[in-house]
């Protein structure tokens, strides 16, 4: 249905969208995040071609995400030794926020919106830790092997922030869905980072913020990895951790 406005006829894009349409919407988002004026001055047609594509494109991940989550729940249920009596499983999902889609495109200039791997994302945090994470991963590979399109073992190769987890990207109904598998310790760390981001408004996950705060989280992640592996920290580590904590503790004092 065409909409007639004072600037003329505006034609809403209609699905199915081509990869080109989706990527052009992504390129405009990137541009508008850099420059508020560009967004304010955009034509109605440009606005429609951007959000009129982005919104339904993102919505098209919801059902594939739900399906992946149902499968993931069954893998978690099979692997977890201590299942809670109420039947609740430590599995959650989220559909990526519009501003974080735009920010990610800006951080990775070569990235195409049509190929973004974590618009639909889910995670499992089995209470039994690393052995159960490995068991769930084996089940994903066994049952979904041909649909695995990517992923990364951040336990073997941590992100510069210290982030650790295992990520697997699977394809479902022509959509890429990201699965994160975390031990309770890795998850507790990620939550602490996110809590601190909300509190301080530093984008710590993207490596933005005071160097001492970034270093603190990097060391904390290393300490937790040692705990997860039942290894003891050496005195050099403990000393550096103690020193950095003194430098950052004021960030965490309740206001």
């Amino acid at each position: 249905m065409a909409v007639v406005s004072e600037r003329g006829v505006v034609v809403p894009p209609s699905p199915p969208f081509s990869k080109g349409q989706i990527n052009r919407a992504g390129d405009r988002l990137r541009e508008w995040l850099l420059d508020d004026d560009a967004w304010q001055n955009a034509t109605e047609q440009e606005t429609m071609d951007t959000f009129g594509v982005l919104v339904p494109f993102r919505a098209s991940f919801q059902q594939p995400l739900n399906k992946v989550v149902m499968g993931l729940r069954s893998f978690v249920k099979s692997e977890m030794k201590a299942l809670p009596p109420d039947g609740k499983l430590p599995v959650g999902q989220r559909l990526k926020r519009e501003p974080t889609i735009a920010e990610k495109l800006l951080r990775f200039p070569g990235m195409e919106l049509a190929r973004m791997q974590d618009i639909g994302g889910c995670r499992a945090i089995p209470t039994g830790g690393a052995p159960e994470v490995q068991g769930i991963l084996r089940r994903i590979k066994k049952h979904w092997g041909p649909t695995i399109k990517g992923g990364k073992d951040y336990t073997e190769e941590p992100a510069p922030t210290g982030y650790r987890a295992i990520h697997v990207v699977v394809q479902r109904d022509d959509r890429l869905i990201e699965i994160q598998l975390r031990t309770p310790g890795q998850h507790e760390w990620a939550r602490a980072v996110e809590r601190t981001e909300l509190r301080t408004r530093f984008a710590l996950k993207n490596g933005e913020g005071p160097p001492e705060l970034l270093r603190y989280f990097e060391l904390a992640a290393e300490g937790i990895a040692l705990q997860d592996a039942s290894e003891a920290a050496d005195s050099t580590f403990t000393e550096e951790f103690g020193e950095i904590w003194e430098q950052v503790r004021s960030y965490f004092e309740k206001s």
Binding site: D36, W39, F51, V55, R58, A59, Q62, Q63, N66, V69, M70, R73, G87, K88, L89, P90, V91, G92, Q93, R94, L95, R97, E98, P99, R123, I125, P184, G185, H187, E188, W189, R191, A192, E194, R195, T196, E197, L198, R199, R201, L219, A220, G223, I224, Q227, F241, R249, F252
Partner: protein, 82 residues
């Protein structure tokens, strides 16, 4: 078990969750997510997010950063006081 969808609005200035809507229908949740984002597009003080799990208790565990007063799970000494 069916997934319950929660549309959360977190106010970065007030430092707490200001709205939480619950949906059993994924399409309705997704449509309301888009409507709310459009209404607040460009507002850098709000974080709007659509999450889902078997219960609110589980969401507080898997995506708990938006909830006040949820204690850390494993209580690692490396995160004490954070």
């Amino acid at each position: 078990m069916a997934i319950i969808h929660f549309l959360l609005v977190y106010d970065l200035n007030k430092q707490h969750l200001i709205s939480k809507a619950e949906f059993s229908n994924a399409d309705e949740a997704t449509a309301e997510y888009a409507r709310l984002e459009e209404e607040h597009r460009g507002d850098k003080d709000l974080e709007i997010v659509l999450v889902g799990a078997d219960s609110l208790e589980t969401i507080k565990m898997t995506h708990g950063q938006y909830f006040d007063g949820v204690p850390a799970t494993g209580a690692s000494p490396y995160l004490a006081g954070v």
